[in-house]
């Protein structure tokens, strides 16, 4: 249970960074909805867990935030990717792809290949 949460925490951060990279500055709800849409509701996370994570990323300097007005003129806090965040995203993407590739190779191996 705890392990799963840990994995999610790591991947969630990556998802947030990627979302901000693709969509540009977004408010919290926007990020949450985008993640939900793309992951196809597979990640049924409590949306609230996003906010401590956003604070953490901001402390780490990967994202920055400021108050602004939303599309329907509501006051909202907008998060955007910083230079450091972009670099982190690139590095983590590469790492993630590598891991995924290795895991994929393992899954593709058939019994006869090993003989």
């Amino acid at each position: 249970m705890k392990e799963k949460a840990d994995v999610l925490q790591g991947t969630l951060a990556l998802m947030v960074l990627k979302t901000l990279d693709v969509l540009g500055p977004q408010h919290g709800w926007g990020i949450a909805r985008r993640i939900e849409q793309i992951s196809g509701d597979l990640l049924a996370v409590n949306q609230g867990t996003l906010y401590p994570l956003l604070l953490k990323l901001e402390h780490e300097g990967s994202i920055a935030s400021e108050w602004g007005a939303s599309e329907n003129n509501r006051r909202a806090r907008f998060y955007r990717l910083t230079g450091a965040g972009r670099k982190q995203l690139l590095a983590e993407t590469r790492e993630w792809e590598q891991t995924a590739a290795i895991i994929a190779r393992f899954f593709n191996v058939k019994a006869e290949d090993l003989r």
Binding site: H27, Q47, G48, T49, L55, H59, R74, R77, A84
Partner: protein, 907 residues
């Protein structure tokens, strides 16, 4: 990097108590609004839309908590809470807090005090840059039993060009020189050094310069570097001192530099370290002997700086190869049987080597005291656990986690230890001037001992380490309560109690064992010291004073008015005649520095060539030699055993004679009659420039052995010559009689200077003082260890008292029932005492085993007593058992006098 940034921001938030709560609230509200809007668009009713939005967001309270944790540092926040709570708890039981803090203050304070001594001596022995590169080079001739024979100039040049060292310097081991021309002729400690000396040490002058390391003047270069102390004292810190002329032993030198304040020369004695003048010399021309391979400069220290990165072992490997090739090249100079070797000793070792063992012993002893203090406090904490059992049970019942409880208890304990440590440091800081007076003056770097920042860091580190180590177990045991049982039974007889009482007994036993170890160490040291104190020195120091003077030795021997023994004897006979006329003086004699019993620092061993066993001087065994006037032996009460002493016919132009002690007779003429045997001895290096073969000296007498070199060493071979046959420059005037130590110095000075006003007279001391000073380091360590042992005994007594009282209190009910059922009060007493005795026996058993190990480790510090000395061990065990019995007797009485009725009613 990112982690660090995050941590710093959190720390800042924590420090400024900035909260992002408001922002989060707004963000959540806005999030819910967005979601509700979307839900409405999806066709939900407004109420349902809001409900679904809230569900999707999750528990707002959990998010807020999570957010706050992220914003700030919960660990530190909790620590602050715990600290505040701990302070309240300490204030609530001031008696307990005071005792615990005082015990720790004692332990940490004592440890810190000894650490400050060790810090100044063992840890920072050399006040020079890159001290690890500095080594002392020692030439040994193990084949003829001659260690540290000195170095010849060609050998020095070989070492310089060997590629092993950055630079190699030669320095004298310190001597005196007369500074004349000022108001009062002054005797100053000086060294003559090769010009690269300061380059080897790596220290530059604060004013002017040191010697040019490439200066190749063969003799004295007539340049002098002076110490900061001399500059300020004698020259009023004159900024134009450079270039001034100083008259030293009638030669004129020019000041080229002033060493910085705080510069201390290397050397094992405080006299050497307080050298005030350095004269540069190539040591290869007059007044030094000619630079021949066979002529070693004796009593010179060869100090070198290794090439960077070269270890001592590796350097010795290279040196061995060099020595081998030199032996092949000069077979005549290095015969096989003398087995010439060159060894390297870390320079730090030459300074603190002699006191290292004593200091380590002290540190060990004080470490044991610290350990006992910690054990005592841990014991007190466990005792309190039973009082606080209910509080802890309630907190656990209210949902406190065990880890959290342990953390909180540990915070409390750490605070206690830290306060104790701080108190100990504060006491030490305030009393340091008083305490420093207890340290013997012969300790190297005495003046560098300071209670400062480094020592404070040590005190804090020790307190925290001790608190963690000794706090964990009590915290763990305290937090382990049987919830239901404790709450129901008002905090008594819970399941943790048995474990706790076992833990307490273990602690008391270890305390007793540790104090036994300390007491044995103290007992053995005390007996050694007592034996040394009572040892028959073989001479009679009572009512004898020694006053020193120094005859100038100008560089040109022709200018020396005391060059020959005949010239000098006129002066000496006049000094003796006038001294005898002083009030109270019954006898007077003179001798050279080596004749001063126990007090002299410059031992100059002489090669001893026996007739019939002729060898080259550099392969002969060495013997300690003194030059004395004929009255010396009678004045010191050293009896003549055979032959005769010197008489008035032994003069410069009559055959040379010598007197030896029994040890020399036994060592060099075993089974033979040493009388009228002839030896060659070399004394003055100036002789060597004239002829290579000193005259034959005939042994005319054998005296009894006297411990004039060291009280601990029974017999060291000695040879004595008459001052009327061999001149000496460093003179001591010995006087026996009813002397007034405060006046005698001035009286002798007046007499000596009325003969020659250029002679300094200094350092008057009674031989009794010299004797007691020679034991000062031993006395110091004995007193300290005894003090620590007494402290340990007191703490152990308190520990056993506390434990037995606690047990008696625990078993109040049981005792009352026994009494009610008709048990004899005497039996109750015995039962409790047996318990105390049991603890004492276990402790003593463990302690004796530990003490056996420790006493063997400190065997080198013992004198005249075996490390397994039965009386010491037995006595100490009896004392410890006695204290344990007395400490259990008081609670035992209390148990015996218990009133069964009231006790059973009150339960």
């Amino acid at each position: 990097m990112r982690f660090l940034r995050r941590f710093l921001i959190r720390l800042l938030n924590f420090a400024t108590r900035q909260s992002a709560d408001q922002r989060l609230q707004e963000e959540i509200a806005e999030h819910l609004a967005f979601q509700t809007e979307e839900n409405l668009r999806a066709g939900m009713s407004p109420a349902e839309a809001r409900r679904q939005a809230a569900l999707k967001l999750g528990s707002a309270e959990a998010i807020r908590e999570h957010h706050h944790t992220e914003q700030s540092l919960p660990l530190i926040e909790n620590l602050l809470f715990d600290l505040r709570y701990a302070v309240r708890m300490l204030l609530r039981s001031p008696g307990f807090s005071f005792i615990a803090i005082a015990t720790m203050a004692l332990g940490v304070g004592a440890t810190t005090a000894i650490y400050s001594v060790i810090d100044a001596t063992l840890l920072h022995p050399l006040p020079y840059p890159n001290p690890a590169e500095l080594v002392r080079i020692v030439d040994n001739l193990p084949g003829v039993g001659a260690p540290d024979v000195g170095i010849s100039i060609p050998e020095w040049r070989d070492l310089e060009s060997s590629g092993i060292f950055q630079s190699v310097s030669i320095s004298s081991t310190g001597a005196d020189v007369n500074l004349t021309g000022s108001a009062q002729p002054e005797r100053l400690g000086f060294k003559h050094v090769t010009p690269n000396y300061f380059a080897v040490l790596g220290v530059d002058a604060q004013l002017g310069r040191t010697f040019d390391p490439h200066d190749a003047t063969p003799g004295y270069n007539l340049e002098v570097v002076i110490s900061d102390g001399l500059w300020k004292r004698e020259f009023g810190a004159d900024p134009h001192i450079i270039g001034k002329a100083l008259r030293l032993d009638n030669d004129v030198y020019h000041v080229v530099g002033v060493m910085p304040r705080g510069f201390r020369d290397q050397g094992s004695t405080s006299e050497e370290q307080n050298t005030e003048l350095w004269l540069g010399a190539g040591m290869a021309a007059l007044p030094f002997p000619p630079p021949q391979r066979g002529i070693r400069l004796e009593s010179r220290a060869v100090t070198a700086r290794l090439k960077p990165g070269l270890s001592i072992a590796a350097a010795e490997g290279h040196l061995d190869a060099l020595v081998e090739s030199l032996k092949k090249q000069y077979p005549a100079e290095y015969p096989v049987q003398s087995a010439w070797t060159v060894r390297l000793i870390p320079l730090s070792e030459t300074i603190v080597g002699s006191v290292r063992q004593s200091l380590i012993l002290l540190f060990g002893a004080v470490g044991l005291v610290l350990l006992i203090s910690c054990v005592n406090v841990a014991n007190l904490l466990l005792a309190r656990a039973s009082v606080r059992g209910r509080e802890i049970a309630v907190r656990q019942a209210l949902g406190a986690q065990r880890m959290r409880l342990i953390r909180q208890l540990l915070t409390e304990i750490l605070l206690l230890f830290l306060l104790g440590g701080m108190a100990g440091f504060a006491v030490l800081f305030c009393t340091q001037h008083f305490l420093l007076r207890l340290v013997p003056e012969s300790l190297p770097h005495l003046n560098d001992i300071a209670v400062g920042g480094g020592v404070l860091v040590f005190a804090v580190a020790v307190s925290v380490a001790a608190g963690t180590i000794f706090g964990l177990a009590p915290a763990w045991l305290m937090s382990r309560v049987d919830l239901m049982g404790t709450l129901r039974q008002e905090g008594r007889s819970s399941s943790g109690t048995r474990e706790r009482s076992r833990a307490r007994q273990t602690l008391v036993i270890s305390e007793l064992a540790l104090s036994l170890v300390l007491m044995v160490a103290a007992g053995l040291l005390l007996r050694s010291f007592w034996d040394l104190f009572k040892v028959q020195p073989g001479f009679n120091p009572a009512r004898v004073m020694a006053i020193q003077t120094w005859l100038p030795g100008p560089n040109d021997p022709a200018a020396d008015i005391y060059r020959t023994a005949t010239q000098e004897s006129v002066l000496l006979r006049e000094i003796l005649r006038r001294s005898r006329s002083l009030p109270g003086v019954e006898e007077a004699a003179v001798g050279d520095g080596a004749a001063l019993p126990l007090g002299h620092s410059h031992i100059s061993p002489l090669p001893l060539i026996r007739e019939g066993l002729e060898t080259k001087a550099n392969q002969a065994p060495v013997i300690g030699g003194s030059i004395v006037s004929p009255e010396y032996f009678h004045l010191l009460g050293i009896p003549l055993l055979r032959g005769r002493l010197f008489n008035d016919q032994d003069l410069e132009d009559t055959p040379q004679v010598a007197v030896i002690n029994q040890a020399a007779a036994r060592t060099y003429w075993p089974g033979q009659d040493p009388l009228s045997k002839r030896v060659r001895l070399r004394l003055d290096p100036r002789d060597m420039s004239s002829s290579d073969t000193p005259p034959w000296t005939t042994i005319v007498g054998v005296i009894a052995d006297a411990r004039t070199e060291s009280l601990a060493d029974a017999v060291i071979p000695q040879i004595y010559r008459s001052v009327y046959q061999r001149p000496a420059k460093d003179l001591a005037i010995f006087l026996r009689g009813q002397l007034d130590p405060s006046a005698i110095s001035a009286q002798v000075r007046e007499q000596v200077q009325s003969i020659d006003p250029e002679l300094p007279v200094f350092h008057a001391e009674t031989l009794d003082d010299v004797l007691s000073t020679s034991l000062s380091v031993r006395r110091f360590s004995m007193e300290m260890v005894a003090f620590f042992a007494a402290t340990a005994l007191l703490l152990a007594g308190l520990g056993i008292y506390g434990t037995i009282s606690y047990v008696v209190n625990e078993q109040r009910r049981e005792t009352a029932i026994r009494l009610a059922l008709g048990a004899q009060r005497g039996n109750i007493l015995k039962m409790v005492l047996r318990r105390g005795l049991g603890l004492a026996t276990a402790g003593a058993g463990l302690g004796v085993a530990g003490a056996l190990i420790v006493s063997h480790l400190m065997a080198g510090l013992l004198y005249g007593v075996s490390p397994t000395d039965l009386p010491t061990f037995a006595g100490v065990t009896v004392v410890l058992t006695g204290v344990a019995l007395v400490a259990s007797y008081i609670p035992a009485l209390r148990a015996m006098r218990l009133d069964p009725i009231t006790t059973l009613h009150s339960e």
